[in-house]
Symmetry: C2
Subunit: 400 residues, 2 copies
């Protein structure tokens, strides 16, 4: 046996069953220079990078065949995930056509998707190259998107994967707990972000879950930038709502959580009623959505529950989806709990599957104070869902 | 002005001139979730990541327009590279069509390429999406590959870029110098790799130039794995040739160099004649190729010089290209100094341009001893090329 990642071995074991369920004969991953333009499926079922035109063929009968440039062969052999590895020097097309002729698949899923970024690692140039290499064979007509396959494979988290995500969530909640006593009026968003990074480094063994320029993202007060922007020199003032969007990567799996704090004004012993009403509305929206999240419902239906819960109470709707999956990445592919907007393509109609791990993250604005957001992570069970993060159920108050 | 990377600003300045030279009206970069499936052009001319469908339009008249999801807008504004940033909520297609109608370009270069990975960041799913969004307009017919544009933009290194690559090379040569006195028979490939990483960490401020599993790559003796494999537990024995392939990233730019050592057998004061002949042949091949490398020659013609230099002297030809460009990445896109093999597509026919930085890295086997490789980096000047790395000109001898 090889020295490859056991999580890759675990995912590879899932493949034949899902292929069979979908009636697909072969999953063909086609790639080159995967270090540079990286197909997310490589992390799931290859566990290494390749340099030249490379094909990974996985069949419903459990065969695993890699065709790679000769200098990439030894590395893949060391990992041991692919029992058959063909190395070529001049070009891949002969070996690829021969291998397909031997397997003679009726349906071939390839690594592209219009709607799911995690299933869309095949570049357009590589697609054209594949069509050229298969020119004159019947196989060109048998190609289809692997989106349903990849969605199921990536989405259905194994118990080991769920445990890793839960640990990443617990670590993140611990970092928030360490942060709270250090918070005070006058700190800038950048200073708060630096504190979070300090606490993360103090724990050790952690990476950021997404780009360092907005991980953590910190927003304070009524005039903050909104999601996906980096922290600024804006200072926390009394009466501000401040929120943080942060996640860590631990053992290759990530968290992605948001929390909200209120900074009391001189003389205040509690947040104003408007702030509490915003907080309670957001918490209610999360609970209402989580209560209905189970296998078989559409992503749109869950988004609608939270969205209308918020708009019914007089707040503007949030300008994004209610939630996305997490796993090896913070945005871990289709399905998504999202509205029927153009930018989500067919995603709103996909149904929830057992084992998927979703964020639930509505937001709303409390005029004059700032934004209330919480983001929790749940795993979909047989007949409902369960929190992997310990949810925020009370507004965190910071005395000036 | 914004806080964006000055190297991005420098590259953006180059764009209108290259568009004009090629007769292209608009360069359209189309992407989503660029953190996950990353278009290498983003490092050159965006300097940030985006989440939802995003379009970056650069015109030959110097206009720069970004159309992004509303939550990504603030971050891009902070960077300041794009004077016009349009944020959308529901979907990008209206703004994209309106913007194209306003610019009304005759030729539109988009980010795909069959042969150049650095120009091929558009996924097939996103290509299909773009075609759908532009459906019913004249612009679908006006799309073409941006490969010539990206090749020129990425390839023609500015003086600042050349200086950064040179510094990365000098640092790598320094690491090799620190390594040599620590080498001895009995060390395993993994132990040598660990020493290189130690020396790198001791210098500080450096990242690896490519994947950690084979950066450095270390190969000792006649039965080593060949390029692109990770170091093993194979120990260095007397009479072995050992070689290292290693590069660092410093200030966002990389090196990629190879060096060869010979381990004297008891009683030997020098390497055997066969080893010296191999070394001298390889050095001769590098020098012969470098002597002819200048603007206007094809990549293939330079590869042929080194390849035939080696085969004319009775050695087998190397199973890869003679050289590739370096820059922000170790494999920095077209052109390449490569033979006419299927896997290189049209690359052998591309001509060398001033300002490109190429590796020169032939290899040959000395029976019973191992592999001789050196890899140098040169920058193409007006009428020739100049070494950015201090070349290895003598075999490094290690006494047992």
């Amino acid at each position: 046996m090889g020295v490859g990642d056991p999580m890759v071995a675990e995912k590879l074991e899932q493949v034949p069953g899902i292929l069979d369920e979908l009636g697909i004969d072969v999953w063909l991953l086609f790639a080159r220079e995967s270090h540079t333009v990286h197909d997310p499926c490589f992390d799931l079922v290859v566990g290494s990078n390749v340099t030249w035109h490379s094909a990974f063929l996985l069949t419903r009968h459990g065969e695993r065949i890699a065709i790679v440039g000769s200098l990439d062969k030894a590395q893949l052999e060391t990992l041991g995930h692919y029992p058959e590895i063909i190395g070529y020097v001049g070009g891949i097309s002969d070996d690829l056509r021969k291998t397909l002729a031997r397997l003679d698949p009726r349906r071939i899923a390839i690594n592209y998707s219009t709607d799911d970024v995690m299933s869309d690692g095949l570049t357009h140039g590589m697609y054209l190259t594949l069509i050229k290499f298969l020119g004159g064979t019947d196989y060109v007509e048998r190609l289809e998107s692997s989106a349903p396959l990849v969605g199921a494979l990536r989405g259905r988290k194994s118990p080991t994967e769920q445990a890793r995500i839960k640990t990443a969530c617990e670590t993140t909640v611990e970092i928030f707990s360490r942060l709270t006593p250090r918070l005070r009026v006058g700190l800038t968003e950048k200073e708060v972000a630096a504190m979070i990074r300090e606490e993360m480094d103090a724990i050790g063994g952690l990476d950021l879950a997404w780009d360092a320029d907005h991980c953590p993202a910190v927003f304070t007060g009524p005039d903050s930038a909104g999601a996906h922007a980096g922290p600024t020199d804006r200072p926390i003032e009394p009466g501000h709502l401040m929120n943080v969007d942060f996640g860590v990567k631990r053992n290759d799996y990530v968290s992605d959580l948001q929390r909200t704090w209120y900074f009391l004004r001189p003389g205040e012993n509690d947040a104003p009623q408007a702030v509490h009403r915003g907080f309670d509305t957001l918490l209610g929206a999360i609970r209402a959505a989580a209560a209905e999240l189970r296998p078989g419902v559409t992503g749109e239906s869950i988004d609608t529950i939270a969205r209308s819960y918020i708009t019914d109470r007089g707040y503007a709707e949030y300008p994004h989806a209610l939630g996305h999956q997490v796993g090896r990445t913070a945005h871990d592919g289709a399905g998504v709990l999202c509205p029927r907007w153009e930018r989500y393509g067919s995603l709103p109609h996909l149904t929830v599957q057992k084992g998927q791990c979703y964020t639930i993250e509505p937001r709303l604005t409390v005029e004059g104070h700032g934004i209330v957001t919480m983001e929790e992570i749940v795993v979909v069970e047989e007949d409902g869902c369960e929190y992997l993060s310990r949810p925020q159920t009370e507004l965190y108050l910071v005395r000036s």
